[in-house]
Subunit: 349 residues, 2 copies
C-alpha cells in the first residue's frame, strides 16, 4: 500500500512526523511506498539526522504550508503548492491511496473534497473521531466538525459510514449506532434528530435509537451520530475537561514530598489510566465519504500518534472501507426510496 504524509502544519514541526513515518515503515512491511510531502530540504535533513534510508520513502516537495490561522477554503485555493494539497493530489493521481495530515482541519476537509471528490452517493464527508472511554473501551463520534448544519439524511449517512468503519477497522462485529440527543425518550431532541432517527431505524444497522451525554463513557454505544456543530463542541469540551483534571492532578500530586512519594508508589495506576484514555493510540480521525483514505492527525500529535495514524490508514485500505461504504450507502438509498416514511417527510430531501 502507498501512503502520503503531509509533514508540515503540525504543532511540533516536521521532525516528529518523519519520526513517526520511520517507525511505521519498520513496523509495517505492507507499506510499499511512503510519500513525505513538504519542504524537501527540511525533510531530507530530518531523514539524514534520523539515519533513515528506507527505499520505500519518497520525498515530494511542496513550497507552501497552510497554517492553523489560514481560512480553509481561501488557503486551499490560494496556496496551490502547499503540502496538504500536494499530498491530496498524489491520491487523486493514483500515486497513493491514503493521506495523513496534522494540519488545519477545515483546510483538510476542503482540499479533500475539492481534490478527491465525494464517494458515490455520499452527500457530505464527515470527520469521525475515536474517543477512548476507559474501561468501556471506546466510542466513535461523527461528525466531529465538517458540517455544522446537517439534514436528517446526512446523519443517516454518517450512521452508515460510521457503522462500516467501526465494523471493519475497530472490529466491532455489530456496532451499536445511536443518534446523540438531549434524552433517550422519542419525544426528546430536535426536528433534525427525530427525522434522522426515523431514517436510521429503516436502515440495515444495529440502531439503538437516541443516546445522551451520559451514555458516552458508559460503554452503551459504539457509533455516535450527530451534526458537526454539536459533535465539535462535545469533543472539545471533553478534551478541555481532560486537560483541566490532568493539570489539577499533576499540581496536587507534586505539592508536597509525601504526596510525591504516594504518587510514585501508585505510578503504575496512572500509567494504566493514561494508556486507556490516550487518544494517541488511535492515531487520528478518518474523514469518511471521500474517494481516498484521509486521516486527520491531531495538530499536537507526536511520533507515536503518526505511526498509529499510518497503521490506521493501512487498515482502512486493506479492509476496503470505501468500497463497502459505497455499497452500503447505495443499499440505504434503495431502502429509503421505497419507504413510506420518506414520502411524508420532505425534510429528508
Amino acid at each position: 500500500m502507498r501512503i502520503a504524509v503531509d509533514v508540515m502544519g503540525g504543532d511540533h514541526g516536521s521532525a516528529v512526523v518523519i519520526d513517526g513515518a520511520r517507525q511505521a515503515l519498520e513496523a509495517y512491511p505492507q507499506i510499499s511506498e511512503l510519500h513525505l510531502v513538504g519542504q524537501q530540504k527540511e525533510i531530507e535533513a530530518a531523514l539524514q539526522q534520523a539515519g533513515c534510508g528506507d527505499s520505500r520513502l519518497r520525498v515530494a516537495h511542496a513550497s507552501e504550508v497552510i497554517t492553523m490561522e489560514d481560512k480553509p477554503l481561501d488557503a486551499v485555493r490560494r496556496k496551490k503548492d502547499c503540502s496538504m494539497v500536494r499530498a491530496m493530489e498524489l491520491v487523486r493521481d493514483g500515486k497513493a491511496e491514503a493521506v495523513i495530515s496534522p494540519g488545519n482541519t477545515g483546510a483538510l476537509v476542503a482540499s479533500a473534497t475539492l481534490k478527491l471528490r465525494r464517494l458515490d452517493g455520499v452527500e457530505r464527508p464527515a470527520i469521525a473521531c475515536i474517543m477512548p472511554a476507559g474501561e468501556a473501551g471506546e466510542f466513535f463520534l461523527l461528525d466531529g466538525g465538517a458540517n455544522p448544519e446537517c439534514k436528517p439524511l446526512h446523519l443517516a449517512q454518517f450512521a452508515v459510514m460510521g457503522s462500516v468503519y467501526s465494523r471493519e477497522v475497530l472490529q466491532h462485529t455489530k456496532p451499536r449506532v445511536g443518534v446523540l440527543s438531549n434524552g433517550t425518550e422519542e419525544s426528546k431532541g430536535t426536528d433534525l434528530t427525530r427525522d434522522a432517527a426515523k431514517l436510521c431505524a429503516q436502515l440495515d444497522l444495529n440502531f439503538i435509537g437516541y443516546v445522551e451525554g451520559h451514555d458516552l463513557f458508559e460503554g452503551n454505544v459504539d457509533v455516535v451520530v450527530t451534526d458537526g456543530f454539536t459533535g465539535n463542541i462535545v469533543l472539545k469540551s471533553i478534551e478541555s475537561l481532560g486537560h483541566g483534571v490532568l493539570g489539577l492532578l499533576k499540581r496536587e500530586l507534586t505539592a508536597t514530598p509525601v504526596r510525591k512519594l504516594g504518587a510514585w508508589l501508585a505510578r503504575s495506576a496512572f500509567r494504566n489510566i493514561k494508556r486507556r484514555m490516550d487518544p494517541e493510540g488511535y492515531g487520528g480521525a478518518p474523514i469518511l465519504g471521500l474517494n481516498g483514505v484521509v486521516i486527520k492527525a491531531h495538530g499536537s500529535a507526536k511520533a507515536r500518534a503518526f505511526m498509529n495514524a499510518i497503521r490506521v490508514a493501512g487498515e482502512t485500505i486493506q479492509h476496503k472501507v470505501n468500497e463497502r461504504i459505497v455499497r452500503e450507502i447505495a443499499a440505504a438509498s434503495e431502502r429509503l426510496s421505497k419507504s413510506t416514511v420518506q414520502a411524508t417527510a420532505p425534510v429528508v430531501a
Copy 2:
C-alpha cells in the same frame, strides 16, 4: 426569607432532603420559614428521628409524587396533589419566595412555567448550570435543557439573565459572556449562533463573542450561552467523562497494596481535587426567568447539596435577582428595538 422544599422525587429518598433542610436552618438564621412539602407522615417521622423541632419548619402535605419516568407536562396536569406542584403553589400564593426540588427536570420547568409564569419580558425560562472547572474556578452554562430549540433572541436573553446571576450570586463583577460555538472565528457556528452573537454584541454585557469547547475548563469564560439541546448534551457528556475517569482511578488505585499505600499517602491531593470539582458545593441549578426563585437540585443530591441549594435560593432572594433580570431584560429589549441590525434580521422575532 421563606423557602419551600419538595422533599420527594430525589434518588435518595426524603430523609437526605430533610437532613439538608435541618443543616440549612442551623446555618442560616435569615430563613424565617422553611416549608417541607411531601408525604406528611414520612416527613414527620424523619424530623422526629433527626430530633429536629425548629419552630421555623412547616409541613405541607402532598399525596402524590412525580417520578423520573413520568412525562413532564402530562404528570404536572394529572398529579394535581403532587409535592412539586404544591411547593410551586406556595410561591404562587405568596407563602414562599423560593422552591427547591430534586425531581424530574422537565416536570419542574413545566410546573414552574404553569404556576409561576415567566418574568415580564422573558421569552423562555432557562436552566442555568454551574460547572466547577478546577483551578479555573467555575463557569455558568445556560440553557441546560429547558429549550431544545431556540431563537437568537432567546440566547440573547439567556446572556442577560446569566450575566445578572453570575454578578449577583457568583460574585463575578464583570462576567465574561460567550456564545458556545464550534470555533471562535465569526464565520463559525450556525445561523442561530451568528444571529445570537450579533444581538449580544449590542447589549450592555461583557460579551466576548464565540467560545468553544476548549475554553470551558480554561477559565476563559464565566457565562456560556447555548441552546438547551447542545447545553444538555455538553453537561451530560462532561458528567459522564467525570464518572468514567473517577471509576477508573478508584479501581486502578486499589488494585495492589502498594498502589493503595501510595493513594493513602497522597489522599489530601485527591480530597482537594474532589472539593474543587464537586458540584454539590453549588447546591443546584437555578431555573431563571420565572416569577419566583426555582432551584433544581440534582436527583442524586445528598444532604450537603440540599443545604447549599437552600443557601443559593436565599442569596438569589437577597440579591433581588429577579427584579434585576426584569430591569435588564427591559433595557435589552429597548436597545434591540432601536438597533438597525434587528430591522434587517427578521429571525430575531
